[in-house]
């Protein structure tokens, strides 16, 4: 059981109406984040995966969120600052290595 097991169960319940339709997309986006960040435990992940297999709306939200997050991450990672050439040596020299 992970830190977020209870949070997941409660939030997941609130996302869907009695008929099982997704009614709270904002809360669902928090759940998606937890899954994409690999912070959901196995049980929570299984519940989530079952839902996105059977609910078109949930699946659409998940795919869009995943794609947006991956694209942002990829573009930010590609855009890294150039490291000053002498930085590592300056640090080593400053402590006498």
């Amino acid at each position: 059981m992970s830190e977020f097991s209870d949070w997941f169960k409660n939030s997941f319940k609130e996302c869907y109406c009695d008929r099982g339709n997704l009614v709270d997309e904002k809360r669902f986006s928090e759940i998606i984040q937890l899954v994409l960040d690999n912070e959901a435990d196995e049980e929570s992940r299984a519940i989530f995966e079952e839902k996105i297999r059977t609910c078109v709306k949930s699946n659409g939200n998940y795919e869009r969120e995943k794609c947006v997050q991956e694209t942002i991450k990829q573009k930010l990672c590609e855009h890294k600052q150039e490291i000053p050439e002498d930085l590592a040596n300056t640090i080593k020299k400053s402590i006498g290595l």
């Binding site: 830190e3 977020f4 949070w7 997309e25 904002k26 986006s29 928090e30 984040q33 937890l34 960040d37 690999n38 912070e39 869009r64 794609c67 947006v68 997050q69 694209t71 942002i72 991450k73 573009k75 930010l76 990672c77 590609e78 855009h79 890294k80 600052q81 490291i83 000053p84 930085l87 590592a88 300056t90 640090i91 080593k92 400053s94 402590i95 290595l97």
Partner: protein, 202 residues
């Protein structure tokens, strides 16, 4: 940063007693490989090459000074990031050339309020982000408050887990989750506004 503050990272672990040679080896093999990530983190906090360099150097000096608080085999990168973040908050911000930062407590209490999601967009299209270049996304990220920017950097660029981020930032793990969610929404909101301005959504 006091020795006590550095030691907090290693609560419950044995304090080490390295020989001079061992300390040099630990520094070189466990700390130095993270210099690029450290510089990028510092630059994304300060937006200034010289300031970032100073912050990284200062962090490494502290790491060496308190090396006996570091236990080999534990997460050196998280330990260094924690020192850097504390140096930035406690010392660097005060003497920074930058204008005064947004009051974090004010920002967080606003973004934790119930009505905040009303203004947050959920309609950022995948194609819109795909059309943007790294510069545009970086600019948008740089415009969100530093404490929110920090969680995105730690999670999405450096790959830290929520638990590691909780230790680096000294906040509960639940706050990491909610702050990261707010931060990503803020970034999406900025990107969405930018896309509208540039006509990407037409």
């Amino acid at each position: 940063m006091s020795e006590e503050a550095v030691n907090k990272e290693n609560q419950g672990t044995q304090r080490q007693k390295y020989s001079e040679k061992e300390a040099a080896r630990v520094f070189d093999q466990e700390f130095m490989p993270h210099v690029n990530s450290m510089y990028n983190f510092a630059y994304r906090l300060t937006f200034d090459e010289d300031d970032a360099k100073d912050l990284v150097q200062d962090t490494y000096l502290k790491a060496f000074r308190f090396i006996n608080s570091f236990e080999q085999g534990t997460n050196a990168k998280a330990w260094l990031f924690r020192i850097l973040k504390n140096s930035f908050i406690n010392e660097f911000r005060k003497k920074s050339k930058q204008p005064a930062k947004v009051d974090y407590n004010e920002v967080e209490s606003y973004y934790n309020s119930d009505d905040v999601d009303e203004s947050i967009t959920t309609d950022l299209r995948v194609e819109t982000v795909q059309h943007m270049i790294g510069d545009e996304i970086t600019l948008a990220m740089n415009s969100i408050p530093v404490d929110f920017r920090t969680v995105i950097i730690l999670s999405d660029l450096e790959g830290f887990t929520y638990e590691e981020m909780s230790k680096i930032l000294d906040i509960p793990i639940g706050t990491v989750r909610s702050r990261l969610h707010r931060a990503r929404n803020m970034l999406k909101e900025k990107l969405s506004s930018y896309a509208k301005e540039m006509g990407y959504n037409k």
